[in-house]
Symmetry: C2
Subunit: 405 residues, 2 copies
């Protein structure tokens, strides 16, 4: 039987409203920088790029060729018995230039040589001026527009830049995003947990999510639930970063100083969004920088980062928000959703022997938490929706390539 959870949306902003409120109050400080092309993959161009050189500089053979003068063929196939390399003909491999006396290039396969080295040209070859030759500028022309502002540099663009003679490009600077993990119960990953302790699994995930978005993460050590220590880290991050993420302490507990701290420092924008998991997400603008108080549970932190930080980073980088690949999959169990909230469900997607994709909401799974964190699929249930019964086909975003399902 389908059992929706009930949650209250009163006083909560939708994620669109939340971002709108931020973008009203905060204008990103768009910074640019010059970087070598070797580091430019995935970066966003801040200026149009024009070629510096013309290639071929003069000309080049298209194939592995023999270069000839078309004059010699004006009256049909000439007698080549006395021809000498470097006089009447020369070799020109693919991409090679050749002496100005030659104005045509025939394929090396169309000639043969007798035992004494005399060249012989196949009878069916017709030699006309310019044949087999890549002319000046056929590869690239000086001043030619190669790549336009706003382009995200693809791997193949690296060859375009190299061909154009470009060594450095002007791109939008990666925003520095500080991540401050908070919680007295947290211990650094790699430490054995004692009673009452929990491992900080978020920092490594958030760091890598931010890297994928094109940002530069700046991870702080874990801060205990102590207002003074949290304040110190926040102040440090506000100096060093473009955006500050305080992860944890976003809820209403006795130790949740963060909300209080942000209220007393800069302009507090809101606390609570109608998108779960991660409802108690808070946001402020402090010293002209967004400060995001991201909920602590890992799946909530993932969700908040996905909709909120992705949008903020794209705004700073002038980049597009990239959709994930999707598949249609059949629910193997009813999906419990916290109606009427927008809900990001984590689902495990498998491929059946029938070739169909199946989506497991993991609700019956023991160790639900770690299985949700590692689930390879994401399903977004919009506000007001939430009834998805076993057997329903839904569109699922993939966190891995389809080939790994």
């Amino acid at each position: 039987m389908f059992m929706p959870m009930k949650m209250d949306v009163k006083g909560l902003l939708t994620k669109e409203e939340a971002l709108f409120r931020l973008f009203e109050k905060w204008q990103p400080d768009i910074k640019v920088e010059t970087i070598p092309i070797e580091q430019s993959k995935g970066r966003i161009l801040a200026k149009n790029i024009f070629a510096l050189y013309t290639l071929p500089v003069v000309r080049a053979a298209i194939m592995d060729s023999v270069a000839l003068s078309s004059n010699d063929f004006e009256n049909g196939m000439p007698d080549t018995s006395l021809w000498k390399r470097g006089v009447e003909y020369d070799f020109a491999d693919m991409g090679d230039d050749f002496d100005d006396r030659y104005d045509a290039a025939i394929r090396v396969e169309d000639v043969s040589f007798s035992a004494d080295g005399t060249i012989c040209i196949n009878d069916d070859v017709k030699v006309v001026p310019g044949m087999g030759i890549k002319a000046k500028g056929d590869i690239v022309c000086e001043g030619q527009l190669l790549l336009t502002k706003g382009r995200k540099i693809m791997t193949t663009d690296l060859a375009v830049l190299a061909v154009g003679g470009i060594t450095e490009i002007f791109v939008y600077k990666k925003p520095i995003i500080a991540i401050i993990p908070t919680g007295s119960e947290l211990i650094a990953r790699g430490t054995k947990p004692e009673r009452g302790q929990n491992i900080d699994a978020n920092s490594i995930m958030l760091e890598n999510m931010l890297l994928e978005m094109g940002a530069e993460p700046l991870c702080y050590p874990i801060v205990k639930d102590d207002p003074k220590m949290l304040s110190e880290s926040l102040e440090d991050a506000l100096v060093r970063a473009d955006v500050v993420v305080v992860n944890g302490g976003s809820s209403k507990g006795s130790e949740d100083f963060c909300t209080k701290l942000l209220h007393g420092r800069g302009e507090f924008l809101f606390h609570g969004v109608a998108r779960v998991p991660g409802r108690p997400l808070g946001m402020a603008v402090t010293d002209g920088k967004p400060v995001i108080n991201l909920p602590g549970p890992t799946v909530a932190a993932f969700n908040g980062t996905d909709w909120c930080l992705r949008a903020i980073v794209a705004r700073i980088l002038q980049s597009r928000i990239e959709k994930r690949p999707t598949v249609r999959a059949i629910l193997t169990e009813d999906l419990c959703t916290p109606m009427p909230m927008e809900y990001m469900a984590r689902l495990n997607i498998t491929k059946g022997e029938d070739g169909c994709f199946y989506a497991d909401p993991l609700s019956k799974s023991r160790d639900f938490v770690v299985r949700s964190i590692g689930a390879n699929g994401v399903f977004i249930s919009p506000i007001g929706f939430g009834e998805y019964l076993k057997g329903t086909e839904i569109e699922v975003e993939l966190l891995c390539q389809e080939e790994y399902i």
Copy 2:
């Protein structure tokens, strides 16, 4: 009018036959290594991963809570006027453990405090043992299978590994792929070309394509068309790398020593494939390692790397060959193809005001070469096909994210 080029496929292998021939003669040397989880994104697991610890170690509050003893509620709501924090109740923020005397946790929102600090519990709260508590192992259990061999580590898996107490994982070692650019006409990128010179644009592109595939590229300096120098670089690469790519000199010109060199060193497998651009691709197995002689033109080098090195790297890494995202697009011009070869066309994809995608085969473009190198789309015409008229809808692979079209 549609004008297919004519090319001869006699004596050429299909790409499938070419790979089959290689895989018959060469068994990859599967190497594994232990790496810190911080470097593990995108790597392929060589062993199953099991959790080292149980979390919560004992228990944790699900929400920001007040911890209580359910005994006190056996006869209904108790008198809390003399209750003291640390005796009859305590605070437990989300994720916190609490003293053994308490066996239930209610939401902090369900209590209030009078002016003198007395706790007051909302009347409608029902307290039962275990409520609001994440039990031992609800996050993760010691010995639990977390991730299976063959998985490609996703960003969210990093959190799974951290939660499980894992600091290092066992993965397939990245194959080292040597890239040796050859050609007397080539100059290093960033150098001004003189007459007869061409800029090496391939190395930076191939290096980044290999990085994307999960390999470790090892770029050599440009080698002139000199058999001794090429031989020296090849011998060095055969010692240092798992696979050697000689880029250029694959054709039949007078300076194309590479084919000759490979014939005299190890087992030469074939020269020429029925996939263009890049027909004169050659392959040998030398000292138990694949040596690929990749054609020099940039689009041909891209094509050869895409079908050939991708398959070789996947075989060494035990990984899957990942498809690119695709869109359906309408041809804006006839697409000239070298029938009956398999053909990789590079197309520029744009989005029309009608929301449709359009594919420009660039055939009418001046500077065809640089525009093809930078084109954002790829279309594969299978062997035996090749007639694609203006207005035809074709399925195009994208080299960029759809949002950037």
